[in-house]
Amino acid sequence: MTRPIIELRNVHKYYGDYHALRGITADIGAGEFFSLLGPSGCGKTTLLRAIAGFEDISSGAILIDHREMEGVPPNKRPTNMVFQSYAIFPHLSVAQNVGFGLRRSPMSGEEKRKAVAEALEMVGLGGYGARAAHALSGGQRQRVALARALILKPKVLLLDEPLSALDKKMREQMQHELRRLQRQVGITFILVTHDQEEALIMSDRIAVMFEGSVAQLTDPQTLYRRPATRRVGEFIGMMNFLPAKLSGETSGGAMVEVAGLGTAELLSDQIPEGRAREGSIGVRPESLTILHEGQTAPREANAEVVERTYYGDMTYYDVRPEGVDGTVSVSMRNMPGRRVSEPGERVRLAWDPAAMVFFP
């Protein structure tokens, strides 16, 4: 991470008796695309609004650019926000909306007009300035809201689920455009989302929140490969859990005995929540492989196919390893010449301890 632009220090927020933020501590780097990801009601919006200055925090501190923000109202903070509803002023034109924040700037009228035109150009709405704001589509509103916030060149742009009101195709397009825009302007973006895929696609780093606390804060790849808690693993993508026992310690970690698969060594970063004798290992469906005839792997286990779902490019299997009650899901890319296994078939499963995480 680069120099921190936002420092959150043990931020707590109470709504009456309700403890909405429970000691959030995080540094957000300058120029970073940072996401707050979590299920509904976990406090993402509350945290974003606290950074913007719309909510007072109960204790702790928020620093923006090393300046304590306590008592600084939203209009005096170097942040701008893109609201979930976009909050486009319906009585103003597109250009007046985009230029709204320049009202107090010392720029001349001509300079302002140029800045508005540039901002509209940047979000792909060049020439739309004279349109009435209420005559815009959802995607266009979103772009106007972006231009309106970015024209002020804030240190931090806050986005509260900006894509949730768009249809799937538009959303995917905007995900890429937002990312491109962020790289282009180099402003720190903080994105609130409950869509884990969106967070993985767009972010430099992600803070996963549950019930007002940050459960894990890291880059997308680490988040996916090494979830810090079982709950994070379940929330991000799909994860299988198999009963497991930690046996002896080794120099780099510990030996683990996974039900239905076998014994192998885990490194200490694969035991994020500390050691316990009994627990479970988490493993992603694509980290397990069904071996075809003649193929071998360093670690194999016997299993039975219970169910299969064919998707064209992929096949998803539910398989039951020998000696285990439940099933695990395995995803396989469909290669030419590779047969799809059928329910009831006995197969050999290849597994790799490097792709596993142990949770107590």
């Binding site: 209009n75 609201f83 909050a87 319906p90 009585h91 107090r104």
Partner: protein, 269 residues
């Protein structure tokens, strides 16, 4: 089919009953004769000219205009506070308080008038146009609240937050964002309160003392049969004015909704 015909006949009769007396107003206002009876005699503007010569009438008109203007401004301001509070804030007893504000809408006016008279006399205040204003504000505020509720409740809170976020103070936000979006509602409320106050009789009758309003003056002239056509002429003017103001109010209200891109959820017309 007969059912439909019966319904149509019913509607026509209903409208006749409702509006025929009002149609009689201009008919006799322009009729050249002091007796209110058919057949009509001939066309004259005499009664309207007579209106311009009656000094007491001019004083009553002035009283009415002052009362109606003051009432509409005061009631609309109070209505704005109530509507804004109702739309924005949660506070204990909110439902009850808002209900109390709306209550004069259904209270019999004569009860309101008599109670106010008793209270004013107890307080030792003398009756004047300002006591009428007080009474009219009481009965107009619920209308103002009802109209402005729509404007304020339909206002997305994040619009104001966005303005603050873009550097405006709460005060300039109100001026630049809130006010333009609720202006049509405010204009509609002003016009409707003005109309209600202008037409109101009972409260004005009890509280105006020796400063009669137009309706009170009209009523006092009913004792003189010879002046009946003048009353009809005056009534004609009042009806036209009221209808004009109400139509204007509704136009403003609808334009406001369109401007804010909102759906129409009611109104008075």
């Amino acid at each position: 089919m007969t059912g439909k015909r019966v319904l149509t006949a019913y509607a026509v009769l209903y409208l006749l009953f409702l509006y025929a007396p009002i149609v009689l107003l201009p008919l006799f206002a322009f009729n050249d004769g002091t007796v209110i009876a058919f057949p009509l005699r001939g066309f004259t503007l005499e009664w309207f000219e007579e209106l311009t010569r009656t000094a007491a009438l001019h004083q009553a008109t002035l009283n009415s205009l002052v009362i109606a203007s003051s009432t509409s401004v005061l009631a609309t301001c109070l209505g704005m506070f109530a509507a804004r509070a109702g739309a924005r804030f949660r506070f204990p007893g909110k439902g009850g308080i808002l209900g109390f504000i709306m209550l004069p809408l259904v209270l019999p006016e004569i009860i309101v008038a008599i109670s106010l008279l008793v209270v004013l006399l107890q307080l030792g205040l003398s009756l004047s146009i300002w006591t009428v204003v007080a009474g009219h504000v009481l009965i107009c505020t619920p209308f103002a609240v009802a109209i402005l509720n729509g404007s304020f409740a339909g206002l997305d809170r994040s619009l104001e937050e966005a303005a603050v976020d873009l550097g405006e103070t709460p005060l300039s936000t109100f001026r630049l964002v809130t006010l333009p979006l609720v202006t049509p509602g405010i204009v509609a409320s002003l016009l409707i309160c003005f109309t209600i106050s202008l037409d109101e009789f009972i409260i004005a009758f009890f509280l105006s003392g020796n400063q009669p309003t137009l309706p009170v003056y009209l009523w006092s002239q009913l004792r003189f049969p010879g002046r009946l056509p003048i009353i009809f002429a005056l009534g004609t003017i009042l009806v036209c004015l009221s209808v004009g103001l109400l139509v204007a109010a509704e136009i403003f209200r609808r334009r406001g909704l369109r401007k804010a891109g909102l759906k129409d959820t009611g109104g008075f017309l």
